[in-house]
């Protein structure tokens, strides 16, 4: 063990944004720019070593404590649940969950059986339950927009950033469900056992956020 905290980063955009955030806070993030074949990237300037993972795995690693820290989207957190501390809204990766239908459809009207397709069944179920609506949920792994187009579902619950994909497929947003952005999460035991190191990293991220503002 290197004595550094381990940080699980969601591969792709959140990783790039986290890198930029840490760089703004003055940390040397060059090892992440030339990852090569390494799986673990020491960032001593930030007091961490980073591993790259798919979003749901970030949560799994942090929950089990093999990574003390993680950066993951609120969308994944809402879908996966699990227990950890969600200490900082990092602001980037901003988008929203929304309910969308074929343009002109009246999803809430009528009393027929309704179906919604989604990659996020738990988010969708909570949303419909909160509205007191009885809606059947179908889990789709890929392009959810296809489901209403093919006639499999009456609506979709999905992440919407600009709405361009929806428009191109003849869909429109009926209602925004909640905003989504990247979060810094912390393993519950690490928060207590390695308190000062964890707080130093939170402070570093805050510094990066302020530098942006």
């Amino acid at each position: 063990m290197s004595g550094l905290l381990r940080l699980a980063l969601t591969k792709g955009r959140l990783e790039a944004e986290t890198r930029a955030l840490l760089a703004r806070a003055g940390a040397d993030v060059s090892p992440l720019l030339t990852p090569g074949r390494r799986l673990v990237h020491p960032l001593p300037g930030a007091g961490v070593e980073a591993v790259l993972a798919k979003a749901p795995d970030v949560i799994t690693y942090v929950e089990h404590g093999v990574c003390e820290l993680g950066v993951v989207g609120k969308d994944t957190i809402l879908e996966q649940g699990r227990s950890f501390y969600e200490v900082l809204d990092l602001g980037f990766g901003a988008c929203r969950f929304a309910l969308a239908v074929k343009r002109g459809d009246d999803f809430f009207g009528g009393y027929g059986h309704r179906r919604a397709a989604t990659k996020y069944p738990r988010v969708a179920a909570n949303y419909f339950a909160g509205k007191g609506l009885d809606v059947e949920i179908i889990k789709i792994e890929g392009s959810v927009e296809l489901a209403p187009v093919l006639g499999l579902a009456d609506a979709i619950v999905d992440i919407v950033e600009t709405g361009a994909t929806l428009r191109e497929n003849g869909l429109e947003t009926v209602e925004d469900i909640c905003p989504v952005s990247a979060r810094l999460i912390v393993n519950v035991a690490a928060m207590k056992m390695k308190r000062s190191a964890v707080q130093d990293f939170i402070a570093l991220c805050r510094k990066g956020l302020e530098a942006k503002a």
Binding site: H64, G65, Y85, E86, A189
Partner: protein
Amino acid sequence: MPTDWVGAPEGARDKLFGACQARRALENSARALFARFGYAELMTPALERGELFERTGLPMPAENMCRFVGRDGRLVVMRPDSTAPAARVAAARLAGRPMPLRLYYIQDIYRADDEHTGRPAEIRQAGVELIGAPGRRADLEVLSLAARTLFALGVADFRIELGHAALFRALSQRLDIDGADREELRALIEQKNFAALGDRLSGFENRPVREAIGRLCMLFGGREVFREAGLLGVPEADAALNDLKETYAALENAGFGGRIQIDLGLVHQMDYYTGVVFRGYAAGVGRAVLTGGRYDNLMGALGRSAPATGFAVDLDALCDRLPVPEAAGPETLIHFSPEHLQTALALLDTRPRAELSPCGTLAASRALARARNLMRLINADADGEEESL
């Protein structure tokens, strides 16, 4: 041939040889310590009535409990914790015994989780319940015992964090808030989701209280927490804070200082706990290994009102962090004919790591001993003649 029977159901595990020894050793350490503090052992059944946990408050979400319908049509659960069963025993079978009751148990609890989370479904716990003793002295007894337990179980590097259930309860009662909103606030505090908590609180009218909640729930650490918390202006909350401060001071004074921390945002199982609550963490384990606290309303729900406090420690989690010891195997094989059984048994009694040979001839016994890498062969038929291999 299908081989889908080789594994236990998800979350359940076999333990073999050295792993059994390691866990028994932990159990025995806990047992000796609990007995020294005057606690008496209970074993309660793995199956309990669903009503028990509905009455006492669910220790985990209903969907995480292993439940089924019994032959009488009533709900049966695999016990999800041992506190309610211990309280049941204290309220019913021990109804005639004077308080306080000091009970301990070393047994499994069960939980059903989503698939493939890597969480155990069967968890060995050692725990104590001090029933019928109110106040700080009882809290201190149980907290010291919790710290001593972690020491006794070989955890050199641990932290116990203290919180107080009455803090959030008293403060949230001053907000104009319904059950669902209160739960939402509680969850945000539990997650230390400071940003969302701030947003959520800004909607409430009572400014001093909402600021107190926002401030409190961020505070965790050492003694400085009390200074930073200041005065809350809600009498029950200030009393709780003072209770915690005095408890912390007494523990510090008793030499537990470096191991004990404060977390004013400790708000788990709020409908269960009423006073000082705590959790223990061990280096190398990603989740709490010990949970406990004061639960003064639980006994009342079972018809024998009494203040109570206790804790349980997760023995499996502590066991997993230790290297598995190599179990010592047999060294000696005893060859015998049925008419020399008595001699064979006498030899077995005096040799610590010996076993009987099932073979019909001395040569076959010798071959077996060699194949198993044993050190010697003893022939009971020849009055215990020994042969080194």
